[in-house]
Amino acid sequence: MRVTVYLFSGRNVPLCRRLSSGDGVLAGLADADTIFALSSGHGRCGVAVVRISGPAATTALRCMVGLRKHLPPPRTALLRSITDPHSKEVLDRGLVLWFPAPHSFTGEDSVEFHIHGGPAVITAVLQALGSVPGMRPAEAGEFTRRAFHAGKLDLTEVEGLGDLIHAETEAQRRQALRQMSGDLGRLYQDWSHRLKRCLAHVEAFIDFSEDELIEDGVLDRVDISVCDLQAEINQHLKDERRGERLRSGVHVVIAGATNAGKSSLLNTLCQRPAAIVSPIAGTTRDVVETALDIGGFPVLLSDTAGLRDSPDLVEQEGVRRARERCLLVLNKTDLLPEAQREQLSLGLRGTSGLPPVCLISCQTSEGLKDFLTVCADPLSGAPTLTQARHRAHLQQCAAALAQYWRYRDSDLALAAEGVRLALTGLGRITGRVGAEEILDIIFKDFCIGK
């Protein structure tokens, strides 16, 4: 058995452990400890969230926010002064939330302090917490691990959560939230549900049809379903790895003929003169790299020397590959008369086999907004793949569905095996599907009996 569990800490330290029979596995935790940590990101920020989880969480409420007699109502924000338990000095004024077990992120009694984001305040509150008996700073990933052990998260959620904690930019946070709240989960669940029905119907046809009443149309309906699923999964796989790129950031190279305006584009995008621009062809000699946030994407933008026809075979291959996955940008539209621009635009739209095209002018900023939309809106449309693991399982799934067609007419057992393998592949993401579930569908959908 090989399970990969990604665990992440509140301090952005990924803790990855591979679980397999041969490797070390998660040690059972002494869950009696109460842990605390800064759960929001480090660095200067408006609001910082400090999270406390464990049996002594209520102690923090009692001795640090003066709620001695009554615990606050669960899951309701209270504005309180947060004081040092020993010196009684007021450290900050902030929101206090109380999440009694089991309705909390970790499944344990939990408390959150939402305090001001200055490093001095955060350090003071963390130090004060450390002085409360029974409390200790959380280890990397400990909150998530506790949530996982409490059965609060499934693997997809843990992965989604990992992304959330790592989200350095807005779009990443949005996508991570989507996955946690289950956009992707819902999509996969829907596929899994439909595949289950397909399998159940094929199985019913195998296990029952000859001497019992299973209508002949059953397999035709399965055919249609399998066909649809195949198309949808393949479409999803063809998302050009947007989701994955969203996680790790995108490397974008500006390439093109000399003097096409590559450096101008770079400067326009990062809104500062990062590269030297001049009307002289070949001004840029070295690669200029700039980190940018385009539409929420972490983007590493590289300006290059111009593309040339090269006799070098390796370089030719490099250029060919570069052309496979690109966005075509036509600069200097300001130099064209309006009518010609329209014509060009129409002509390009009518030409098939071209990558997405943008007409811009770095000089006038015309078309720049469209360009940014085209290059970065991974959140529009269907949810995207965020994990390479998901991609691998979905590819398995799609390949297995092809087996259904290969044997559809000659050997239904092998065709069913294809659907079953597809469901197994998907089940690695959404959870295993047992034989009983398939039988339940069979008995719900058909009157079996002899």
Binding site: M1, V3, V5, L19, S21, V25, L26, A27, G28, L29, D31, F148, H149, A150, G151, D154, L155, E203, F205, I206, D207, F208, E210, D211, E212, L213, Y407, S410, D411, L412, A413, L414, A415, A416, E417, R420, G434, A435, E436, I438, L439, I442, F443, C447, I448, G449, K450
Partner: protein
């Protein structure tokens, strides 16, 4: 007629009627194995235990009903046929009995791929009983005793091993005589606190015409051993007089023109192809539904909560669950000379006069007469999660359960468990470690694993969809999967072992001959113009590769290469199947290995899941405590287990195993073996 059948033909003729051979006294005071019950599970258990070498006693209420088919007169089918083939591969009785008694053979699913072919036969009840009785009465080391078991004798729990009883024998009803044994196999079917239902009448019993079994047995299981029991129900249709049915109004359903025997030992069936009898198909009418609805208030059985099978429902539940539909009714012959028909699909429990009214709503039966009315049975079953994979009750050493008592339904399911319980009862009596069949190698393994690790909440029937390795667990290769293993266990006769070895070697030769025939794709295209042979990676294709093509048969290849292939014509079908399936079986090998690995990680039976120092949710602890899975593999398949829980258990098992290894290392030389626990751990036999 084949060699085997001829040999079996004689004893049957010689010993008729079998009743005269019944034993009213036993020769010994002590047996290795006592089997209680003479149904499908009991007969297989007794025969298997005796084959393995145990002195065995079969106790049954009536020797006359040994091998009786209490319900449908048929054997096999999709999934069930797989079980019959496997039972036969382990030298069980039912496959050969089916070949002897079959009067209508067909392979179901013929067009759906060999992995799901379902060998099936209509049986002659009389012939089936004859065969089973003759077989049992001629089995060495096996005695049959007519009697009723009053009590199961068990020791008090051993203080060294909390909760552990040991079985010591049985006490008979008349005269309170006790017979001691090392192992007892209970196969009491529907007789455990059984009640019969017809209309408003409820009477104690497990089968019409038979005395109810004593309540003592049920009491011992529940009160003495503290076993959890549940209640299930089943039913059987009325038997109809053949002459009173207008068969011209039903659709004729002929058998296969060439009957395929169940047994690997038979090349032909006793019934000649032309002697076979047909079945008939007809349908229910709106009138049937009306009668069911009108008589619901007269129908005690249907109003009870006990769970009935979803796939073999009574006509009442079919009509209530899927109203407004016509339902199939099969009219099946009960025997070569029987004047009865069995209306499959019309199991019912209403009063007899209403039963008559109901069947007369079906055109073909508008003047039908009922010979025996249908009835319902409710009975106790022992929740099978209390059993080990050897079908031994976990808290009682030497006590084995098989058949409907474990919550299954069907002759084949019962026979499969019986055989395996018999083998293990004999092994227990001889202090051998339990033998386990994996779900990766057999349907019997799937059946037992599902029962003991997941339990049942309705009568359990085998379906091919329950076997995750269906492509390798095929009816055609049951012998290759099991006969050698059976032979090592000693439950396979030398005749079968020799035949198996012959077949295995011949198959290997044939495969080698096919692989030795290599041609380029172009060469094959020239030889077989109709086949679109695709290119291959290494430039050549073997005969085995070609056989994978849909339209290529072994016969075609043999006609092209008569010298090399014609000696192997005997196996043409098996070779074709093997060629098509081999690539798929190879693909699932890794998964098979993973499961086998997990199945080898045993979880101690006395584990206290509530105090286990690993992080498990309360819910998971409860599930684990309730089902007490024997292995990590079984735990993984439990409903409600989370991936985290499995990881934690895995962790626990590994730490425990590491500790044990270290202990063993430090104890090496001082101690040989570590008793039951170690045995259980090394239970699987050489593959």
């Amino acid at each position: 007629m084949s060699r085997m059948l001829t040999r079996k033909l004689l004893p049957v003729r010689n010993i008729l009627p079998p009743v005269t051979k019944r034993t009213s006294h036993v020769h010994r005071q002590r047996y290795d194995v006592i089997v209680v019950g003479g149904g499908h599970a009991g007969t297989e258990a007794a025969a298997a235990a005796a084959r393995v070498g145990a002195e065995t006693l079969l106790v049954t209420q009536k020797t006359h009903t040994i091998g009786a088919l209490s319900c449908n007169p048929s054997l096999g089918g999709v999934g069930k046929g797989h079980l019959v083939r496997e039972i036969d591969a382990l030298d069980g009785l039912c496959g050969r009995a089916g070949d002897w008694a079959g009067i209508h053979f067909s392979i179901l699913n013929r067009r759906k791929g060999p992995a799901v072919w379902g060998p099936r036969a209509q049986l002659d009840r009389q012939r089936y009983r004859e065969f089973i009785q003759a077989e049992l009465l001629s089995t060495p080391r096996l005695e049959v005793l007519e009697g009723s078991v009053e009590e199961l004798l068990v020791t008090d729990p051993n203080p060294e091993e909390p909760g552990r009883h040991r079985v010591t024998g049985i006490r008979l009803a008349n005269g309170s005589r006790s017979i001691s044994a090392s192992s007892v196999v209970l196969t009491t079917g529907t007789f455990l606190s059984g009640s019969l239902f017809v209309g408003h009448t409820v009477s104690p019993g497990g089968r019409i015409g038979d005395a109810p079994s004593s309540s003592g047995l049920s009491q011992t299981l529940r009160e003495r051993l503290g076993l959890r029991v549940g209640r299930l129900r089943t039913g059987t249709p009325p038997r109809v007089l053949k002459d009173s049915v207008d068969l011209s109004l039903a659709k004729l359903h002929p058998p296969d023109s060439h009957p395929t025997p169940f047994s690997f030992m038979n090349t032909r069936t006793r019934c000649k192809p032309e002697e076979q009898l047909p079945c008939y198909l007809t349908y229910t009418t709106p009138g049937v539904e009306r009668v069911v609805r009108e008589s619901l208030h007269l129908n005690c059985h249907i109003q009870q909560d006990a769970k009935g099978p979803r796939y073999c429902p009574s006509i009442e539940s079919r009509v209530l669950r899927f109203p407004g539909r016509r339902h199939q009714v099969w009219l099946e012959p009960e025997g070569m000379t029987s004047d009865l028909l069995y209306p499959q699909g019309l199991s019912m429990t209403m009063p007899p006069d209403v039963q008559l009214r109901l069947i007369r709503e079906i055109p073909a039966m508008h003047r039908a007469e009922i010979h025996t009315p249908g009835y319902g049975v409710q009975y106790d079953y022992v929740c099978p999660t209390q059993l080990s994979p050897a079908l031994q009750v976990k808290n009682t050493q030497g006590l084995f359960l098989a058949g409907q008592i474990n919550g299954t339904t069907g002759y084949e399911e019962a026979a499969a468990q019986g055989l395996w319980a018999g083998v293990n009862a004999a092994r227990w009596a001889r202090s051998l470690p339990p033998a386990v069949l994996s779900r990766t190698e057999s349907y019997i393994g799937v059946l037992i694993d599902d029962l003991v690790s997941r339990g049942v909440n309705e009568p359990y029937r085998m379906f091919t969809s329950r076997a995750e390795f269906r492509t390798s667990l095929r009816p055609d290769n049951a012998d290759l999967r099991l006969t050698l293993k059976g032979s090592l266990l000693g439950c396979v006769s030398s005749a079968r072992r020799d035949e198996f070895l012959r077949v295995k070697l011949r198959l290997q030769d044939a495969e080698a001959a096919l692989r030795a025939l290599t041609l380029s794709p172009a060469g094959w295209r020239k030889m077989m113009p109709g086949i679109s042979v695709s290119e291959s990676k290494n430039g050549s294709l073997s005969g085995m590769d070609l056989l994978q093509y849909k339209d290529v048969s072994f016969e075609m290849l043999a006609s092209l290469f008569p010298e090399q292939l014609s000696p192997h014509m005997e196996f043409s079908e098996r070779l074709k199947i093997e060629a098509v399936y081999k690539p798929h079986c190879d693909l699932s090998k890794r998964e098979v290995e993973r499961i086998q690995k997990e199945e080898n990680m045993s979880l101690p039976q006395d584990l206290d899941y509530f105090s286990l120092p690993v992080s498990l949710s309360k819910e998971v602890r409860e599930i684990l405590d309730r089902f007490r899975p024997s292995t990590l593999g079984a735990a993984t398949r439990l409903e409600g287990m989370t991936p985290a829980a499995v990881v934690n258990l895995l962790n626990y098992v590994q730490i425990a195993e590491r500790k044990e290894r270290m202990m063993n290392r430090s104890n090496a030389g001082h101690q040989e073996g570590r008793g039951d626990d170690l045995c259980a751990r090394n239970a699987s036999l050489p593959q």
